[in-house]
Symmetry: C2
Subunit: 134 residues, 2 copies
């Protein structure tokens, strides 16, 4: 069902500083930047082969990523897996008895459609399903 790792989401406190590290030192080009207002994050996507690193700086403290950083510090936040058909994938994970955060897909970065599984269903790993726009 999961075709590939689409991206790893990383919570950062300073997006420009983090881009400097990943782009200059680690050699990953930035392919997309966006502020997703409804999720309270400014993001940068950096490419490595067929996957991305998604650096996420919260737009404020009272946002999901802001609360994550306050509680656990900056660091790895979630794994996003590419699925060919997000509705079909949600039917499958529901049938497997997994608890969902999103019963229906919602808009993600770059006009993708996304849904999160609940970390209690996946051993503490916040897991995102993503059907890209292209």
């Amino acid at each position: 069902m999961f075709e590939r790792i689409d991206h790893i989401g990383i919570a950062v406190t300073d997006l420009e500083e983090a881009i400097e590290l990943y782009e200059k030192t680690f050699g990953m080009p930035v392919t997309h930047r966006e502020t997703v207002a409804e999720q309270g994050v400014s993001i940068a996507m950096l490419q490595t082969a067929e996957s991305h690193v998604e650096l996420m700086q919260p737009t404020g403290e009272d946002t999901p990523v802001g609360r994550f950083i306050a509680k656990r510090g900056p660091g790895i936040h979630h794994i996003g897996y590419a699925v060919p058909d997000i509705e079909a994938a949600l039917v499958d994970v529901k049938a497997a008895g997994l608890r969902l955060i999103d019963e229906k897909p919602r808009r993600g970065a770059a006009d993708s459609r996304v849904a999160f599984l609940h970390p209690t269903a996946t051993g503490g790993v916040l897991t995102e399903l993503i059907e890209s726009a292209h």
Copy 2:
């Protein structure tokens, strides 16, 4: 420098239960299993496209992954990036002023050679460089 995401390391409390989820529900085949005694973990590698998920169950409480779970609970532990030449990569990250856990490569799973950067150098993300044996 980083060619692709080689794997995501996930700390788990019950390896068989975790394999069940990733293999049966998420559809990733197990490609390798091993107990790495010197690191105190039993691991399973599951494939998705060109990357892997590495499930890691500690062999005891007084191991790096055992202490991680005691402190933070099970969940995402590290990101491993494939590099073509690990000695050259270590020279580059040292030249960039990044703090290392391993100054020299050591043996990883499946006869790979690995080295970890210190999470304080990378915004709280435990980052592994990996040169595979093949």
